[in-house]
């Protein structure tokens, strides 16, 4: 049975690859740059499957077979979901607070926009990616008062968050879901409590600041919040 089981498992893994590619679910797991690499495994898996069943015998390898079956079983048993509010709670959002060092070569943001009241800030419509880039070069995110914002992300709520506030979240993925870094931005919206956790929303509004003791935190004052379908590519890529 070992040789036949190998063939079935290799076919199953090939099927897993095909299913993920065809359904687009591969984007829930890896960066779009890696999709071609995943596709590349298909001919190798199928070629191995084609010869595997003709083997007269293989050694005892129950653990290997169970291991090879596990990814297939997970795809079949658990509906595919992108990382969302539960993952954000698990990761505790700590990583999104981290900053590249001053002068980091990767910091892509124009210097003039990082200065307080920088020209052009109010002209842009700010989304989560732009806001995160700004946060990378200016942790205080100055100069955005009144700038329009349009955020698309999932609804996240932390314990103790007032009922008229929510966090709009999204994950930045460089390689695969294992290195996902959460990005969140606070939103003030009177109907926040009615929005289900993990629902995808589009928030329109403008950026305001709040805080005390000299610490000013930016947030979006929402003028409209509407539920939207989960994007085909739910993660952001650097």
């Amino acid at each position: 049975l070992g040789a036949a089981a190998r063939a079935v498992l290799l076919l199953g893994l090939g099927g897993l690859v095909v299913w993920n590619l065809a359904s687009g679910q591969v984007h829930l797991y890896v960066n779009e740059r890696s999709v071609w690499l995943v596709a590349l495994t298909l001919p190798f898996l199928l070629a191995m499957a084609a010869t595997a069943w003709r083997r007269s015998s293989v050694g005892r390898e129950r653990l290997s077979q169970i291991a090879a079956a596990l990814p297939i079983a997970l795809v079949l048993l658990i509906p595919a979901r992108p990382l969302g509010s539960a993952a954000l709670s698990a990761l505790d959002a700590g990583a999104s607070e981290a900053r590249p060092p001053a002068g980091a070569a990767s910091s892509p943001w124009p210097l003039e926009l990082t200065a307080a009241g920088g020209p052009g800030a109010a002209m842009l419509t700010w989304d989560l990616r732009l806001l995160e880039r700004l946060r990378g070069s200016d942790p205080e995110m100055r100069g955005l008062e009144g700038a329009p914002a349009s955020l698309v992300g999932f609804v996240h709520r932390t314990p103790g968050l007032p009922s008229d506030q929510l966090l709009v979240g999204r994950f930045m993925v460089r390689c695969c879901a294992a290195d996902a870094v959460p990005i969140t931005f606070p939103v003030h919206y009177p109907g926040a409590a009615e929005l289900p956790i993990d629902a995808w929303v589009e928030v329109e509004g403008s950026i305001r600041y709040a805080g005390a003791d000299g610490v000013r935190m930016p947030f979006v004052e929402a003028s409209a919040v509407r539920l939207v379908p989960q994007p085909a590519r739910p993660y952001l890529y650097p």
Partner: protein, 353 residues
């Protein structure tokens, strides 16, 4: 003519093995039954009322499949490279080409990653195969440890992330190279190297594989290549899956913020990011970008430790090392790497930053 003969042979081979059909039928029936059960469970998934637990399971499943799908191409690259070495590189050629002196072989092994740009998921298969072909132990160990960093893809990605800190890029490469050579030399000095190795290291990774009965080379080299790759794959996949599963579960249940509090302590920060590197088990081709997100929070020595310890030792690679080395040898390897990296990380924090 030979192609036609091989086709006929293949057809005859299929007809002449009636015992295989019931096996395939049984396996296919079991697969279909499992599929039916799975569809039923999947449809009931959303009706279960355990929101928090369900969210955590979904998160762990997504992280696990992310690691698995990202690593699968590299695992296959590794097993096919190993199978190619097995079939096309003779012991005599290796004996003639590879140095025997421990230091020279460790240096060559630590540099071979420049020719085999394979990350930690695939390099163990290559190291095993070279060892089985008679390569010296220091060479195999140094290759296994250094290749995930000392290769052009990882050097380029590290430069992209930390190009503004060239000494950190160079430090990563030099430190991993040095640690790989030192560990390889320690292993090479063992009186009886065979005591460090798992018993059947001369065979493909698949447990119990018997080169005589499993397959033969009558059907041509391509068939033999696929058979060897098949054996290697089923020998290695369990370590990848177990490692990815463990990393996914740990990521889901251990909050990162619990670790981030130690960020600037010269000693604790190094230990913390070493632990995080093990926990996250991120591929070495992209871990530099993840390290970048810690750069404002953690000390520079800790970042260097993250960039060097992770590719040497993480959950899945430690399990894979078990294919080559006995458990005691793996523990020794982990301790050696951890001590060296910790000392360098703490030294950087105390003296250079």
């Amino acid at each position: 003519v030979s192609l036609a003969e091989s086709r006929v042979e293949a057809v005859v081979g299929r007809i002449g093995s009636p015992a295989r059909s019931p096996s395939l039928l049984t396996a296919a029936t079991a697969a279909v039954a499992a599929l039916v059960v799975a569809v039923a469970v999947r449809q009931g998934w959303d009706s279960v009322g355990l929101d928090a637990a369900r969210g955590q399971v979904s998160t762990a499943a997504t992280v696990f499949l992310g690691i698995f799908l990202e690593a699968l191409p590299f695992l296959l690259l590794g097993v096919f490279a190993a199978a190619t070495i097995e079939l096309f590189v003779t012991d005599e050629v290796l004996a003639r080409v590879l140095p025997r002196h421990p230091l020279a072989s460790a240096l060559v092994g630590a540099s071979l990653g420049l020719l085999f740009p394979i990350c930690e998921c695939g390099i163990v298969a290559v190291s095993r195969r070279l060892l089985a072909k008679g390569a010296p132990l220091p060479l195999a160990v140094a290759l296994m440890l250094a290749a995930p960093v000392v290769n052009p893809i990882v050097i380029a990605s590290t430069w992209m992330a930390f190009g503004h800190l060239p000494w950190l890029v160079a430090g990563r490469i030099v430190l991993v190279f040095a640690v790989a050579v030192i560990v390889a030399l320690v292993f090479g000095r063992h009186q009886r190297p065979s005591e460090l190795l798992v018993a059947p290291v001369g065979q493909p990774a698949s447990a119990g594989h018997d080169h005589e009965h499993g397959h033969d080379h009558r059907h041509g080299r391509l068939r033999a290549l696929l058979d060897h790759a098949n054996d290697e794959f089923f020998g290695m996949v369990k370590y990848l899956v177990l490692g990815a599963l463990l990393a996914a579960v740990l990521q889901t249940v251990v909050p990162r913020s619990a670790l981030l509090a130690t960020g600037q302590d010269p000693a604790l920060s190094v230990l913390t990011l070493m632990g995080l590197a093990v926990l996250l088990s991120i591929c070495s081709t992209v871990d530099a970008f993840v390290a970048l997100s810690f750069a404002g929070t953690f000390s520079t020595g800790a970042i260097l430790a993250f960039l060097t310890f992770g590719p040497l030792v993480d959950v899945k690679s430690v399990l894979m090392y078990g294919l080559l080395l006995r458990r005691r040898a793996v523990v020794l390897l982990v301790l050696l790497c951890a001590q060296l990296i910790y000392l360098v990380g703490a030294f950087v924090n105390l003296n250079l930053t």
